[in-house]
Subunit: 426 residues, 2 copies
């Protein structure tokens, strides 16, 4: 058993009722008597305990840190304080993007436990995409989430004291940062016990990824940026498995990896997971072409995600009274405004390049690294799955080595469509 | 009177004897009886109290934070904890570059006071350079200092936990970071009460600097990097006034601005202050050309500073078993080593570009901003001083707007010599 601090105990369906009943606000929200409350443990994630509690008047979610990685067990200890960082990140995100994350009702520091809004009838977006469900409101919502949370926590909006205090706090989330550094930016490019892939089909790809030194340079430049850039408070695990969704509502969950990092990491990871869904569709078709329209929807969504994010980020920048990065006082008058506007565009262009690189990194790690996506894993036919994965890896390589030639998001979609049209490898 | 925490009181020549006598180690180092100790307050800097204490057996330096900016007074409060950050930085620097900083004997947290090695017969390098003194050992020492402290605190050498703990600690030095952000990266490019210059000669330059939007963009890009890049633990005020020197020994002092920032800021600031000395020499000549040989020495030193830093930084990188940024495991074998070596060179090239930008920023701020250098201020003839300053500003502008065309340090020196040969403006 791992040591835990005084006041912490792992909740069970049995002990949770008493824990909730101790706090009047929970009892009021749930209604009725504690014996009326229905509790289900639903944590299908890799890290934590998650309970859904329903009472006569309402429901709530309880998320508690375990002192180890749930996916692996006690042999991989993890700091309990990731719940603290998640609660802090959710609060910051709610402040800047209200109603786009679950509302936190209360954080219990000694129990490393968050009580939050129960989202119903939301499902994990990745599951919906496997089923070919279109989400017409998604692009609008996620671009607002990204633009609001990333812009407002950057030096373009925050004064230096607030920003450096944020960096100070989230620098304590180093153990979760290290997981990302290892499993995304290092292990897939070397021999490592954590790695797995669809063997034997992808054996040659895995070897090529270890041998290709352009990939080693590309991924290391991105890692260096991940290690040294504190551009904004990131969600830092922004993929379709971290989004709860309906046709009319989008909520981003699980920001326990949050830290101050490069903006392109959030943007690129999200686009990567849309790309994985795109290439995985062939594995979910009963007959070729059946999901053509859904692929079209994904492509349109990818375009809307970048363009919408860019437009909204720029809008916020144009309207902010910045006193820190690019202070308004240096850009007064028509010549100043013109120079600043040109610089804003250049900034977004650089961010696009960053995002494509991090997108490439996020593609490879889901196919050759430790953590895979059910978009692909659910494809039972391994040869078919490997074909989907090989196409994804080809795109990943072009993005990681900055040889895709993509200078716009339309170029990226054209690349996906060309890759989709290639013959099967296996 | 500003509030100060319990246990803090400003030391005076009267109270310092008792304070030192309370600690046996100080008494032992000084020797004799407390009444034998000679105390002089010598703080000619802008921020703190500095006492030199001599006893029969030895001497020491006492440096204590004041709760305000000494240069301005109580109207500009400053956090006492800058002494804590200075003590921490000195300890880190001593660890990586022993004998290139004063040794810290003890830090007294409640008094915000550092007891450290007395450096004798060292003088402030800037004063020596005004007198035209050559320091043959300087380039060797300062390049070792920079390469050791900057490489060893970067992600190339530190594991992520150590690095992020360092970022966390030094993020608390935000008030001193903000001074730099304001006085270097903002105020000289706008109308601000803090600014001053050699009027009326430089009035047109000051106006041009406020109106030129290429400069506004250039300085803002550098500020953005200063705000968001945690590449290594910087000294962060590395100029010739922060160096105590003899012909055979070099020590870097006063790292109270220390924080995790972009490496080019330390390198560029140092080179900028050598450039200021270069252009100021004309104001210290009795007749034109008298200091030609000394200018040659400065140019040689500038070349040695960059080349020596580059060589030593690369040497450390080639010999480190890096597990974090650019992990060795990704670059095994001859192809891996070749790719990594090419990337090391590319990294140093990017660092050179960064350094030139920060050099440009450090030139302008000493001529149009709040804090000026005695290199120039000591030139009594204002017309002559303005001519030196105008040449410096022309170089500053080329570097800030990235239009100097300099791709090597030799190019930089050639630029200085061309600029020196131009006709006087005034």
């Amino acid at each position: 058993m791992l040591d835990t601090p005084p006041g912490y105990q792992t909740l069970t369906e049995q002990t949770l009722t008493d824990f909730l009943a101790e706090d009047e606000s929970n009892a009021k929200l749930l209604g009725g008597k504690p014996s009326d409350w229905k509790i289900n443990e639903v944590g299908d994630g890799n890290l934590n305990l998650v309970f859904i509690v329903r009472g006569p008047s309402g429901g709530l979610v309880v998320k508690q840190s375990l002192p180890y990685l749930r996916l692996v067990g006690e042999s991989w200890p993890l700091p309990l304080n990731r719940a603290f960082f998640e609660a802090e990140a959710l609060a910051a995100q709610w402040k800047h993007a209200p109603n786009l994350v679950p509302q936190v009702f209360k954080y219990y520091p000694k129990m490393y436990c968050i009580i939050m809004e129960l989202l119903e009838p939301h499902i994990i977006m990745r599951k919906g995409m496997i089923d070919g469900i279109e989400y017409p409101q998604f692009a609008e919502a996620i671009t607002e989430f990204m633009a609001a949370t990333l812009f407002e926590t950057s030096d373009l909006a925050q004064d230096t004291h607030t920003k450096r205090a944020g960096v100070k706090m989230f620098s304590g989330n180093d153990t979760l940062c290290k997981i990302t550094e290892d499993v995304i930016f290092t292990e897939p490019y070397m021999e490592h016990a954590n790695n797995r892939w669809t063997a034997p089909y992808l054996d040659d790809y895995a070897k090529r990824w270890r041998d290709d030194k352009d990939l080693a340079v590309g991924i290391s430049r991105l890692k260096q940026k991940f290690l040294t850039c504190t551009e904004a408070l990131l969600h830092a695990d922004l993929h379709t498995g971290s989004i709860m969704i309906t046709k009319t509502d989008t909520r981003v969950i699980d920001p326990e990896f949050a830290f101050y990092g490069p903006i392109g990491f959030d943007v690129g990871k999200l686009i990567a997971n849309l790309i994985i869904s795109y290439f995985s569709q062939a594995g979910h078709e009963q007959q070729p072409g059946e999901r053509d329209q859904y692929r079209r929807w994904i492509c349109d969504t990818i375009i809307q995600v970048w363009n919408g994010f860019r437009t909204k980020f720029l809008e916020r920048w144009r309207n902010v009274q910045s006193v820190n990065a690019y202070p308004n006082a240096l850009f007064e008058g028509p010549a100043g405004e013109a120079a600043l506007e040109a610089e804003r565009i250049a900034y977004m262009d650089a961010l696009f390049t960053d995002s494509l690189g991090f997108c490439g990194a996020s593609l490879t790690r889901r196919i050759l690294g430790i953590a895979h996506n059910i978009d692909l894993e659910n494809i039972a036919d391994e040869r078919q799955r490997a074909n989907c994965e090989a196409r994804t890896l080809e795109v990943s390589r072009l993005l990681l080595t900055n040889t895709s030639g993509c200078t716009s998001i339309d170029d990226v979609v054209a690349l996906l469509e060309r890759q989709h049209a290639t013959k099967d490898c296996f």
